[in-house]
Assembly symmetry: C2
Homo-oligomer: 181 residues x 2
Amino acid sequence: MALKYAILGLLSWRPFSGYEMKKLFSESTALYWSGNSNQVYPALVGLRKDGLVVSEVRQQGNYPPGKVYSLTDAGREELREWTASDPTVPQIRSPFLTQLAWADQLDDETLRSLLDRYEHELRMRMLIQRELVRREPEGPARSPRETALWALITEHDAEILECELRWLGKVREATGMGVAS
Amino acid sequence: MALKYAILGLLSWRPFSGYEMKKLFSESTALYWSGNSNQVYPALVGLRKDGLVVSEVRQQGNYPPGKVYSLTDAGREELREWTASDPTVPQIRSPFLTQLAWADQLDDETLRSLLDRYEHELRMRMLIQRELVRREPEGPARSPRETALWALITEHDAEILECELRWLGKVREATGMGVAS
DNA sequence: GTTGCCATGTAAGGTGTTACATGATTTA
DNA sequence: TAAATCATGTAACACCTTACATGGCAAC
């Protein structure tokens, strides 16, 4: 459950309510959870039960009461241990590759359209990603090193997308589906 | 449920038993399922119920009886429709990025070790991938175009890994964690 | 004689998503 | 008047993984 550590990480930055973290998740690509309530709220209950976070109720006028969470020393230590633990290589699950594997049954025109639509999706994703970066170049920035790390994490997504586009170009060449129609 | 279409795809190649497909999944990186019985067997039951596959019992000496599945016309059409359907961009879920996001709390030595271990994992993955390719350069190969597609799908994984290594190099540079210790 | 392959399947549990319920408040 | 936002949470369901159960056969 990496979500647990993503939450601890956010709280190592500053206190947040569940709702605020939910929003951060849904806007970030590195903290890649969709930001759904059904994952965040139960996770917070678990973390509090384990003594890794504490919560404080915040009353604000007529709004429903919010719970603001912060990190305990045990939580801080748990996070530190996890960040130093053995990293794993992500496996890429690309339904598109499965699609391509059986795409020889399609005629030239349909295959070309498939490649076109995938390229379009990739470029759309790049635009969205750039917009997210433009709107939120933040992060904790507690040190120059941390600022650099967050910039690199943001870049990562763009690099993968560019890699994918280059590969798609190769597919076009090898199958005679070049851009010039 | 893309697994359903991966199965239909395999059966469009030639008939297979559930056990054989299970093994193919566990060995392939493009057909990225772990090859566990709990997914494959129930999926086959569902496909038969929908009339997309038919099964034939194969008796072979004293071994337990195997069920060999093949594609119906309806199954072939379902597969064709799916291969032509709108492709989606895979989202990369990298716990390592989450780890890096909070890694500024680590001292230089521990951070360097974290990067080293990630690079080691990446290189191990490349070796495994190459071994898989060496041992099984196959695929249906019903046409030159299909052979080309399968080669490109196989290359895809290696390209992503190389991209990841290049990016890791950038991280090293930017954080002063160059290879020269 | 213990491990591993053939071949089917079940059990249990973690992870993830969308959609809904509540109820007041601001915005169009 | 309809919608979006604030803020919590539940329900239902899809997906994925490891581990186990059965039972004969082959290899070391």
